[in-house]
Every structure is written in structure tokens, then in C-alpha cells.
């Protein structure tokens, strides 16, 4: 369970990759290079990075529309992701997905899904397939706390427990479903307890602490892999940006004070402080990683900038197999 020095540094590298990649996304969005709806993950990086460190190749991952970080962590080409956000032919989905539906089947990333809650059933289905084939793969399913009031989520929970499916439901509770605080949308605020009705293993974690995320998700992953049982994890997080690029980060439904206080709990800075205190990382290594990621991200932007628009002939492709 203990992570090696290299693994710890890799957690830092991946969180920083998401951060810088998405800062570039924000820039590109304001330059109108990226269109549509664009939801940034900035602030919540620890949850994806810690969780995805706990799985192995062959496992499946589903998430909602805040989906740039997950494929980046799973090894998808940042250039292809950026080109997809640009809607270019070099995009990972050939310019047909955009920000909200990124997919990299080869790496087990089964997609961003943009109708709230529905992909919890798809994830249970992938877990069903693993169990059906008697494979030991597990499925991670990420969604926001805005999804947990939806009927389909409870249908998926019920069948996951009923059929002992190896799926880990990870609710990233960032407190606001778009602009509506959880207290105004859910009858109970302790979201993990939504698993009670199904007697599903459930707990909450500090989703801003990547080491805690890794340790706790790993436990659930091991249970799913070895015992074929689902778990419901509520990861308490905070998004530093608005709901989407068209939503201000504060001043509307979140106060400046709240936002500033939360920003001080930056998961990336916190990890660096911890690792430097433990002698795993120092300022120099941090600078090296930053330079390395800077190049990755600027190469991704350059790739997207150079990628041609999709040809008209592709419009009718990919509808049917």
C-alpha cells in the first residue's frame, strides 16, 4: 500500500499536469479556440489522481462532463485531448466529442458523460461485464454530488449491491450542483449515507488530499477486485473555478471569503509541502517538473493549433459500426 518515492512524485506530476493543462484550456477558451461548454477540474485534481493511482490497466473508468483530468492521468496524449477541445481532426474523438465526452477506450477511459447521473448505470454495466467474464477488473465511476438525487443513480446502486458488481462509485462532492448548494438540493447533506438504503460499503474522504484519496480508494478497489463488492465513496472537494467557463468563480452563489479560504487548501501546494517536509521532493525537483509539464502542455497547444479541421466527409462517419 505504501507508495514509493517515484510514485509520490508522480502523483505531484499528474496533479500539476491537470492544473497547467486546464489553465491553458481557460486561456484557449477565452481566445475562442475552445467552444461549447467547458468545465474545469482545477481544485479537484487530488481525487482523480489519487483514485486512478489505485487501479491497474484493464480497469474501466467513467466520469461526468468535468472530464479533462481523468484521461490525462490515464496516459491519453495531451495533444489529442487539447485538439479535441479545439474540435480538430487530431482530437482523440476526431472532433466529435469536445470537452464533455472525451473517451479513450484503449486506456479504459470509457468517457465523459454529460447527462447527469446516467453513466452510473453504464459503469455498473462495465463492472457487470468484468464479473460475467470472470475477470478481476474493476470500474471506477466518478460523478458530482448533483447526481446523487437522480433516480438512475439509485437504480445503479441497488443493482450493483444486488449483483455484487466490482464498481467503486466516487462522488466528488464540490458542494454545488452548478449554482445550487447541496443543502438546497439534497434531503441529507452527508452524501455517503445515500449508500445506506442499499447497505453498500460507504465512507467519506478528504478529496483534496491525494494520499488519503489513494489509500481509501485502494481499499475499495481491493474489495471490489477480491470480493466483488461495490463501494460508495464521497470525496469532499472544492472547485476553484466556476461551474463552467461561463460561470464566475465567486461572487454569485459562493462568497469571495469562502472561495479564498478554500483556495488556501490547494491540493497541489499541500502535497508539495508534505513531500518536501518528508524529504521526497525539493524546490529544485519541483521546478524540473514544472518545466517538464510546461513543455508537455505547450506542445499540446501547438499540436491542437496545427491540427486541421475535420473534413466534411467525416460528418456521416462513426454513426454505425
Amino acid at each position: 500500500m505504501l507508495l514509493s518515492k517515484d510514485q509520490l512524485i508522480d502523483l505531484y506530476r499528474k496533479m500539476y499536469l491537470i492544473r497547467r493543462f486546464e489553465e491553458k484550456c481557460a486561456e484557449a477558451y477565452t481566445q475562442q479556440k475552445i467552444g461549447g461548454f467547458c468545465h474545469l477540474y482545477i481544485g479537484q485534481e487530488a481525487t482523480a489522481v489519487g483514485s486512478l493511482a489505485a487501479i491497474k490497466p484493464g480497469d474501466y473508468v467513467f466520469t461526468a462532463y468535468r472530464d479533462h483530468g481523468h484521461p490525462l492521468v490515464m496516459g491519453s496524449d495531451p495533444g489529442k485531448i487539447m485538439a479535441e477541445l479545439y474540435g480538430r481532426s487530431g482530437g482523440i474523438c476526431r472532433g466529435k466529442s469536445g470537452s464533455m465526452h472525451l473517451t479513450d477506450v484503449e486506456r479504459g477511459f470509457m468517457g465523459g458523460h454529460a447527462i447527469v447521473g446516467t453513466h452510473t448505470a453504464l459503469a455498473a454495466g462495465a463492472a457487470f461485464a468484468s464479473k460475467y467474464r470472470n475477470e478481476d477488473n474493476v470500474t471506477l465511476c466518478f460523478f458530482g454530488e448533483g447526481a446523487v438525487n437522480a433516480g438512475v443513480v439509485h437504480e445503479a446502486f441497488n443493482m450493483a449491491v444486488l449483483w455484487r458488481l466490482p464498481v467503486i462509485f466516487i462522488c466528488e462532492n464540490n458542494r454545488y450542483g452548478m449554482g445550487t448548494p447541496v443543502e438546497r438540493a439534497s434531503a441529507i447533506y452527508d452524501i455517503a449515507q445515500k449508500g445506506c438504503a442499499y447497505d453498500m460499503a460507504r465512507f467519506h474522504i478528504d478529496g483534496m488530499n491525494v494520499l488519503e484519496v489513494y489509500e481509501q480508494v485502494k481499499k475499495a478497489v481491493d474489495m471490489a477486485r477480491n470480493l466483488s463488492v461495490p463501494t460508495f465513496i464521497e470525496a469532499r472537494v472544492y472547485r476553484f473555478m466556476g461551474h463552467s467557463m461561463s460561470d464566475p468563480s465567486h461572487g454569485h452563489y459562493r462568497t469571495k471569503e469562502e472561495w479564498e479560504a478554500q483556495k488556501k487548501q490547494d491540493p497541489i501546494a499541500n502535497l508539495f509541502n508534505k513531500l518536501s517536509k518528508d524529504g521526497v521532493m525539493n524546490e529544485e525537483m519541483k521546478k524540473e517538473i514544472e518545466a517538464e509539464i510546461e513543455k508537455v502542455v505547450s506542445d499540446a497547444v501547438a499540436f491542437a493549433d496545427a491540427s486541421p479541421w475535420p473534413g466534411q466527409e467525416t460528418i456521416e462517419e462513426d454513426i454505425y459500426a
Binding site: 466529435k96 473517451t103 458523460h113 455498473a124 454495466g125 454513426i319
Partner: protein
């Protein structure tokens, strides 16, 4: 050739395909221990066991989604809706997931999945349980829609649907389950997207599918006695539609009546009529007529239900009108 029931034909198709391919499984309400609400899955639990014949809770959206997720991960699910009326609870999964994921992923996702069950009116089931919903699903690129009328077509097309690598909407009928027809004992399939001329004729083309086919054939028989030779075409697959077969027939007969159970507004019959107008206007000797349900929710009362639905008499009348007789 042995005569078997429509439900037995479907049962044979599923059993044969499940024997052939371990990745195929059946999931739905009462499909297993109960042997199917309409006994279409009779004996499958006994032969294939609980792993491959999966009884679900009454949660159409949830198990439709589980089926789609399983297909994304490489299995080949057959998802049974006890009736297509209940699919409306799951329509988000069918339209936003099944029909979209391949496209949105740029062709990465493959979804070999069949959604099947009975649609349309049975007898006195009132407004929520009597809907013919093919128009809903035909509207959506990414889906294929099949609605066979005979046991032979049902078996051959269900086998093709199961082997297809795309989401297929397969519409059966409560009133057809007990009907009998000849089905060969050996292996066969029927291609998706190819219409079948069920009766040759020269004076008028009647297009009809699912149980309306039999109303159309009954009408054609009556018309023959009046000296009118009707050609009856069953499209079998509604999406992709074999419009070439329909247009070829209309260019021969110069007259068209389309029979569709279900509402007229934005219906499949309207689409067929439109395509014929667009591509064969000059061949027509009369405006196209549609025979559909009346534009009302289905009433419960027996006499009213009969009035709402298409009938052989209404088809005969429509043919007389396009013949100017």
C-alpha cells in the same frame, strides 16, 4: 416446414445465438424464473442459467444502462422491455447513450446490443400500455429499428440484430406472439434493411409492418375481389428504411397507401410518404394516403379502441380513394 408461434421463433433465435456466442446474455424483468411475461424467454433460464439470463428489478433506465455499459465493455446484451411503453423510462439511455457513444467517441465505442419487446396496442390496455413507439426511435441516427410481422421474419431478423454491432430496437407485438407461421429448422438469417414484397400486385402499393401487415394482406384480399391488384410491402426494417423497394413498387403501381399503427403526426408513415413525394412525385397518379391510429390517446372501451386503430376496412377505403373509386 414446421409451423411455430412467433414467440417460439424469437425464443429459438435467442437460444441459438446464445449457444453460438458466450458473450450474449438476456436481461430484463421476469425473463428468467418466470420464463418471460409473454413466455418469449421460456426455458432459457433452465438452459443457460442465472449468469446469462438475468432477472432485473423494475428499473428500465437502470438495466438499459447496465446493458449499454456491458456492451461498451465487449458483451452482446439482449435487453427485454416487458413492453416498449416502459422504454420511455429508459429513453434517455437509448438516445443519449446507445445512439450517441459511438459517434461522440469518434468510432472508439462499439455497441452490439438489442433492445426488444412488444409494442403497439393489444386489447383494452388503455392509453399508457397501447403505444406504437417506432416513430420515436426511428427519429434517431445511431439506432436501427426492426418490426417483423411473421415468425419467419422475426427469427431471421432477431438473429441478425443480435449479430449486428450496433444498437438495434426490435419491436414485437403482444398480439403476434401467439400467431403461427412456417419456420425452417435449419440456420438462416434475414438481412437488416431489406424490405419484403409480401404480395405482388399492379394497381396500388400498400406499405405495412408488424401486425398491420396482416390488416394490409386482408385488405388486399378484399380488394382483389373488387378487381384491384394491391402489392403489399413489409419494410421489416424501419431504420435504415429500404426506400428503393418502396419507390420501385410505386413506380410500377403509381399509387401508395401507408399503414401505420400509432399516431399520424411525425410518424413513420409520414416519412415514407414524404420520401416517395420527394423521389417519385411524377410517378404518382394520386396523393399518398395514410391509414394510422386516430390522433388521440388510446381509450380503454372496446368499441372505441377498435375505432381508433387501423383496420382492413379503412385500408380498403383508402385504396379506393387513391384509385378514385
Amino acid at each position: 416446414m414446421p409451423e411455430i408461434q412467433y414467440r417460439e421463433a424469437l425464443n429459438q433465435a435467442m437460444a441459438e445465438e446464445m449457444r453460438r456466442d458466450e458473450n450474449i446474455f438476456l436481461m430484463g424483468e421476469e425473463v428468467g424464473f418466470y420464463n418471460g411475461a409473454y413466455k418469449v424467454s421460456k426455458g432459457l433460464m433452465e438452459e443457460f442459467g442465472e449468469r446469462r439470463v438475468v432477472d432485473t428489478p423494475i428499473v428500465e433506465e437502470g438495466f438499459a444502462g447496465i446493458g449499454i455499459g456491458a456492451a461498451m465493455a465487449g458483451l452482446r446484451p439482449i435487453i427485454e422491455f416487458m413492453t416498449w411503453n416502459f422504454s420511455l423510462v429508459a429513453i434517455d439511455q437509448l438516445i443519449n447513450s446507445a445512439a450517441k457513444l459511438r459517434y461522440m467517441s469518434g468510432g472508439q465505442v462499439k455497441l452490439p446490443i438489442v433492445f426488444r419487446g412488444p409494442g403497439g396496442a393489444a386489447h383494452m390496455l388503455a392509453a399508457q400500455h397501447s403505444q406504437a413507439l417506432e416513430s420515436y426511435y426511428c427519429h434517431v441516427p445511431g439506432l436501427k429499428v426492426i418490426a417483423p410481422a411473421t415468425p419467419y421474419d422475426a427469427k431471421g431478423l432477431l438473429k441478425s440484430a443480435i449479430r449486428d454491432d450496433n444498437p438495434v430496437i426490435f419491436m414485437e407485438s403482444e398480439l403476434l406472439y401467439g400467431t403461427k407461421g412456417e419456420v425452417p429448422e435449419g440456420e438462416y438469417t434475414i438481412p437488416i434493411g431489406v424490405a419484403d414484397i409480401k404480395r405482388q400486385g399492379t394497381d396500388v402499393t400498400i406499405v405495412a409492418w408488424s401486425k398491420m401487415l396482416f390488416k394490409a394482406l386482408e385488405a388486399a384480399e378484399a380488394l382483389a375481389k373488387e378487381g384491384i391488384s394491391a402489392e403489399v410491402i413489409d419494410p421489416l426494417t424501419l431504420r435504415p428504411l429500404d426506400e428503393d423497394a418502396i419507390i420501385a413498387s410505386v413506380r410500377k403501381t403509381h399509387r401508395l397507401v401507408v399503414v401505420q399503427e400509432g399516431w399520424p403526426f411525425c410518424g413513420v408513415a409520414a416519412e415514407i410518404a414524404c420520401r416517395v413525394y420527394e423521389k417519385s412525385f411524377d410517378w404518382l397518379d394520386a396523393p399518398v394516403k395514410r391509414v394510422t391510429n386516430m390522433d388521440v390517446p388510446m381509450p380503454y372501451a372496446k368499441n372505441l379502441e377498435k375505432i381508433v386503430l387501423p383496420s382492413a376496412e379503412k385500408i380498403v377505403q383508402a385504396v379506393r380513394e387513391v384509385m378514385y373509386k
